[in-house]
């Protein structure tokens, strides 16, 4: 799965920083992500992985540096709604709306933001629910589903906005091993469909299988950006080595 680096990357980040009070969560990071590329972000807890992908859809606006998505400069003047139509996101805790049924969870944003009719949105939602393997749960409420099923709904809900980029923030961290297999399977499928993906995860096997490149972070800095084979067999930095040793030990 080699991708040529095009002159017009999907996501381009230059010297981007993010502060929480005095704490530097992101420290002048630089990288480009090509259209259709799969990126996995690895790193120890508190290294700034989640903050990094949250700046990409501006749920956490960055403080300095430059961010462009699909050639458009993203800053505080950008309409966040337009940006989020283009960049979908899945969270560790699903963040489904408990007062709405599975179907209503999926059609709310397409109807309110994309101005689809209920019929259009419903047809779209059923298609994606089918894709994530839970077509017959549409009328249930989130609380009636298992964790794995809820995360599938969250993925379908994000896909209903037909984004060009999907961000996954530790999507399997709250799931049991069996559910992880199911959700990872769906992410594999998405990867094959060619959607640009940035995923924060601790699933090493999954990372190795689908990632085009690995971004390894520590203390708010990007330590290295390498293809998975190189990263898992012979990481350049000592910190990455330590990280991998710890991951493999457990």
């Amino acid at each position: 799965m080699q991708h040529e680096t095009t002159t017009n990357p999907m996501i381009s980040v230059r010297g981007m920083s993010k502060l929480f009070g005095k704490f530097v969560a992101l420290d002048r990071v630089d990288f480009d992500i090509s259209r259709g590329e799969k990126i996995v972000v690895l790193g120890p807890s508190g290294s700034g992985k989640s903050t990094l992908i949250r700046t990409l859809n501006q749920i956490e606006p960055h403080d300095s540096g430059m961010l462009t998505i699909d050639g458009k400069l993203i800053n505080e003047k950008t309409d966040p709604i337009q940006l989020r139509c283009m960049v979908g996101m899945v969270f560790q805790n699903y963040n489904l709306f408990p007062h709405l049924s599975v179907l209503e969870n999926c059609i709310l944003a397409p109807m309110r933001v994309r101005r689809m009719t209920r019929m259009e949105a419903t047809a779209l939602a059923r298609r994606y629910l089918e894709q994530v393997g839970i077509p017959d749960q549409a009328d249930k409420y989130p609380i009636q589903l298992s964790g794995g099923q809820q995360q599938r709904v969250a993925i379908a809900r994000a896909l209903c906005m037909q984004p060009e980029v999907m961000l996954f923030d530790e999507p399997t961290a709250a799931l049991d091993p069996e559910a992880i297999v199911g959700v990872v399977g769906i992410m594999d499928e998405l990867a094959e469909q060619g959607i640009t993906t940035v995923c924060v995860t601790h699933e090493m096997a999954f990372s190795r299988r689908i990632a085009d490149r690995i971004i390894f972070m520590d203390q708010g800095k990007i330590v290295e950006i390498t293809p998975p084979e190189t990263f898992f067999t012979s990481p350049k930095s000592e910190r990455a080595q330590n990280f991998l040793n710890q991951m493999l030990r457990y």
Binding site: I59, L83, N95
Partner: protein
């Protein structure tokens, strides 16, 4: 209107006199009419009178319509209005609200069987219109007293806000000086409650005025009897009170003298039996001491007066709470936001202030104090209904802010994150995602607050709002059927509260998207 009719009901021989008096002052002889200068408290051709209609025969509600008191005072007020070519407007309220209302210029004069006292004349001008005497009254069978000293150590009931407390204080001072225990004085907000304390045997005696007592005696048959009529030189006159103004005082004095000399006052005295000491009465049967009168209970329950009072209670509570919720939601959102701002500090002050101040005080403040600074609030449009809604909305919004804050905080912050990641607008995030979840959490305490508010409306009787409890008390003053009327009021409150509890259950069921069992099994 009452007094015009009563003129027509006068004995035939008096009619020409009365008619002549009206005619003279009206227009037939402009020379005489010009002599009758109109006092400045008659404004826009209206004489506004504040009264507490629980003091028969001076001022009380005879029928079901609590907004139309009758009595000796009301007839005199009408006669004054007629003299001054003015329309009479009567505002009814608690006794304690009368003088503050006069100060706040809500009325031109106060007339409510009030004794002329030097203390009151320090703040207001007074004109006497009726002689009276203080009486100490006990139950039938209580031996008469030969001096006030014999009340030493006994319980005595009086109406609060009246001058009786001061007068009994003088007696108490003498008792203490003589080394005897003083009387224990209990104060009650209405006259009939004072009388009731004696009837049920809680106090030894009550203190009242002879004219009121004569009426009570006819009402209650032989259940009461005068223990002593002490000879106190002061406090021998009922007076009309006005704001201090020497010219107005002279004009009022002249008008009363004229009504006295042309026999009008005497006519009214006869009409209302102000000096009639016979105990054979035509008034309603007394309920006190007897069995529960189902007839009185059902007639109260089905009366327009109670229904109207209940509707006022209900609408005040509904409107106030609606406004309170509308105000409180944005305040709660601002207070829950992490940023510090001047607005936030101001809103925190607002919430603390109105949670801390007693509701009753807020009502009195808005009705009696605010008009002194903003005259617009003493105009006709600012009715007790509006004032109550204003006070209760502000008061309730402070409580509701806290409920809303708790409910909004209880919604998982991930919900806002998830919703904004989907591109939903701020408006949609609140209306489609956060509010529906917060609503379910806020509903039970909000209904609780509403039920509280429904009952708190009864405080508004102090600013003359004719809500359910005010109506009940005025009806009790007329009939003395305490148990029956209280029971009828209770039924109304219970029906209203149970209806809203039922509504809460229904709405909760509608919003119960989470099955409790499922939550537990998922958590396990």
């Amino acid at each position: 209107m009452t007094s015009v009719l009563s003129y027509l009901r006068l004995p035939r021989r008096l009619r020409p006199v009365a008619a002549l008096a009206v005619a003279l002052t009206a227009a037939v002889l402009p020379g005489v009419a010009r002599a009758e200068q109109v006092p400045s408290f008659v404004q826009d051709g209206t004489l506004t009178v504040c009264t507490n209609p629980t003091l028969p025969p001076m001022t009380f509600v005879k029928g079901q319509d609590v907004t139309h008191p009758e009595g000796f005072d009301i007839d005199v007020a009408q006669a004054l209005a007629t003299r001054w070519h003015a329309r009479l407007s009567v505002i009814t309220m608690d006794f304690t609200g009368l003088f503050p209302s006069l100060s706040a210029q809500r009325c031109g004069l106060v007339m409510s069987g009030i004794i002329r006292t030097p203390a009151r004349e320090k703040s207001f001008d007074a004109v006497s219109y009726q002689d009276t005497a203080l009486v100490v009254v006990g139950r039938k069978g209580t031996p008469s007293l030969s001096s006030m000293d014999e009340l030493s150590g006994k319980d005595v009931a009086v109406e609060s806000g009246t001058s009786y407390v001061t007068r009994l204080g003088v007696v108490n001072d003498a008792l203490i000086a003589a080394g005897k225990p003083p009387m224990i004085i209990q104060q009650y907000p209405t006259e009939e409650q004072v009388v009731q304390q004696v009837l049920i045997g809680r106090v030894f005696a009550f203190v009242s005025q002879d004219v009121e007592l004569f009426y009570r005696m006819r009402q209650l048959g032989d259940k009461l009897h005068v223990l002593i009529t002490p000879n106190i030189p002061d406090y021998r006159h009922f007076a009309i009170y006005i704001r201090q103004n020497p010219e107005d005082r002279t004009l009022l004095q002249n008008a009363i003298s004229a009504l006295d000399s042309d026999g009008t006052l005497q006519t009214f005295r006869t009409k209302w039996s102000v000096t009639d000491q016979s105990t054979k009465g035509d008034a309603a049967q007394a309920g006190a001491g007897g069995m529960f009168d189902w007839g009185a209970f059902f007639s109260a329950l089905t009366s327009m007066a109670f229904l109207h009072g209940a509707l006022i209670t209900l609408s005040v509570a509904l409107i106030s709470h609606f406004i309170a919720i509308t105000i409180s939601v944005p305040i709660a959102i601002v207070l829950n936001s992490p940023q510090k701002s001047l607005l936030k500090v101001a809103l925190e002050g607002y919430v603390s202030l109105f949670r801390a101040a007693p509701t009753l005080l807020q009502l009195l403040f808005i009705w009696n104090a605010v008009p002194q600074f903003f005259p617009i609030f003493r105009e006709q449009w600012f009715t007790p209904f509006l004032a109550t809604i204003l006070a209760l909305s502000i008061n309730e919004s402070a409580y509701q802010v806290e409920i809303n804050r708790a409910a909004l905080s209880a919604v998982d912050p991930g919900q806002e994150l998830g919703a904004s990641a989907l591109g939903l607008s701020r408006r949609d995030i609140y209306w489609r995602v956060i509010f529906p979840q917060a609503f379910r959490i806020a509903l039970p305490p909000t209904i609780n607050e509403f039920i509280n508010l429904l009952k708190i409306t009864s405080l508004a009787s102090v600013i003359s709002l004719q809500e359910l409890l005010a109506v009940t008390q005025i009806q009790v003053a007329r009939t003395f059927a305490f148990t029956e009327y209280y029971a009828a009021a209770l039924i109304y409150y219970l029906v209203m509260v149970f209806f809203f509890l039922f509504l809460q259950k229904r709405v909760e069921r509608r919003f119960s998207w989470s099955d409790r069992k499922k939550v537990v099994s998922n958590a396990a």
